[in-house]
Symmetry: D2
Subunit: 183 residues, 4 copies
């Protein structure tokens, strides 16, 4: 049986010096969640700016890059209910449907005018509560988006992020809706 | 070194008889997800019926039991955005807020009239897509609720269920919204 | 459409004051993992002490309490390969088998002499690496146990802990083995 | 408010025809676990064969491919305690250490003779119990390996598999030990 020499062990314990074991931790931190929300907000404003300054094609190119890096369409269907979609195309479980929503111009989604092309100038999230669960996190709260006229639109939003093997947080669930207003 | 007698092993392999190892599997199945959705629908109709036939107190008692068995308020804040709530009480992360939404009569939530007291007679879910991820599952799609007049209200709904240690599936995220209608 | 008054929003953003959203985080931290390992070590020494000072019955009572609070037999079969067990009772997937290993005296496990009754006076873990994965964590490394004669026994040990709904970390996998020594 | 025409809805419900929602399910099935164990066994025999017929270089090349496709070193440190390693190189948390163990010939791991070069002709796993937990699964039981002389070596083995984004199951924990034999 293998035995550490007692004297050596006692010395090690006495010294309190111990090489720290490497920790592999795929869990998401609250800071990462907030950063991912801010990144979404920043991307929305950037796509708006690209559209206003360089046109719809530039906006589409940027939106495609954002979707590819910030959403989980590479994993499977994303549960995406954008703010302004209507039946029978309410849910955008494919990359094509998400891109059409953000920048329009897709004949397969004729109702889409391009949500990101509204000249948004600012965006921020305010969470009601956050669940962190290993390599996924879900947030619910409001997102406030400022238009070019300075008016602020508030939406109710649920996001679920998942860390993929490349370390990135990706949106795998996104439900956005306008606040209810009594008739 | 321990060695299985070769003859014995050969016989076992030849016979192909092997006691199956017990499997502990906490994963959620698609059937369980659909059953949990149907249970939610059934509970809504049952609360409506209790309210209509036995009054608000009976409805409140039943709603409390439903919340305690079908939602995860015992775990922490639930991410619940009901269909008809408005700021500053849009998000109902507490059990009290959920109960008030379903059956009203709580002076802390003065706008709540009791969503479940509308005489609903039928309810069914139709999923756009489902994510199953270990002991959690997220669904997105429509829920169609039939009123006493036969009119059907459709909502866009996201649910995340989590299996707790007692084996039950509980709702930990619930975002419900009326479909967008262009102004 | 609901709109936050712009002036109010601007003030809020300017002030940078925002109520922090409650975060429900079931993830295990490295500190919790180390604490759970230390708790296991402390329990082993405590059972030894109970056995030496108060006899096998007292040790069995304490060991039962330790198993009930620190192992996951309440969830299903635990994957437990103790250091000194032999076929055909190598794996102790039931609470009964674990208890017999630690304190002996169970005619269903006639080879068990009671590992915890060896007069252990100290115990500490030294991890080679740690995986943290949501509400579970797995460690691999050595555990050094000091006998009453001052000799230290080193074992190679893998533990997987899982947080249950009550917040506790429980051992759901435990593989312990003496270091290999070449013949 | 959006309303499905009642007649249409009634027809749909009556017809019972409903497009099935796509389900994205990353959970591991029992069949996948057993297949991954068989693949490990098959790889061990294949490396042995490559070594015997084509030499150590061919065995090393194959072993590297096996490690890259069946272990999770691409994710971080793997918790690997091979059957025959000794201190201070007991734990092989790096790809280099795993490769040295299987095929030897690495001056950084001078004690390694190449476990996979022993002329193994057959290998099979027999599980005591299995835990399945979302995209991970842990097994504990025996693995029986047949040498060229027909003698069977039994080891006690714990494996934890994790599905990576590419769909593959990879070993992230592997603790193997010879059965205890009383002195």
């Amino acid at each position: 049986m293998y035995r550490l020499p007692v004297a050596l062990l006692a010395a090690a314990m006495a010294s309190g010096v111990s090489a720290k074991a490497p920790v592999y931790n795929a869990n998401i931190s609250e800071a990462e969640v907030l950063a991912a929300q801010n990144a979404w907000c920043g991307a929305l404003v950037a796509i708006s700016k690209a559209g206003a300054e360089q046109g719809q094609d530039a906006a589409r190119k940027l939106a495609g890059e954002v979707i590819d890096s910030a959403y989980g369409y590479n994993l499977g269907p994303v549960l995406f209910k954008p703010t302004l979609t209507t039946a029978p195309q309410t849910f955008r479980t494919t990359r094509e449907g998400a891109l059409a929503y953000f920048v329009g111009g897709d004949s397969n989604f004729p109702a889409d005018k391009g949500f990101a092309l509204n000249g948004w100038t600012a965006c921020r999230a305010e969470n009601a509560a956050i669940h962190i669960n290993g390599d996924t996190a879900t947030t619910m709260g409001n997102v406030m988006i400022t238009g070019k006229d300075g008016k602020v639109t508030t939406v109710d939003k649920t996001w679920k992020f998942k860390r993929t093997d490349d370390g990135k947080l990706r949106i795998v669930v996104h439900h956005s809706s306008l606040p209810y207003s009594a008739p």
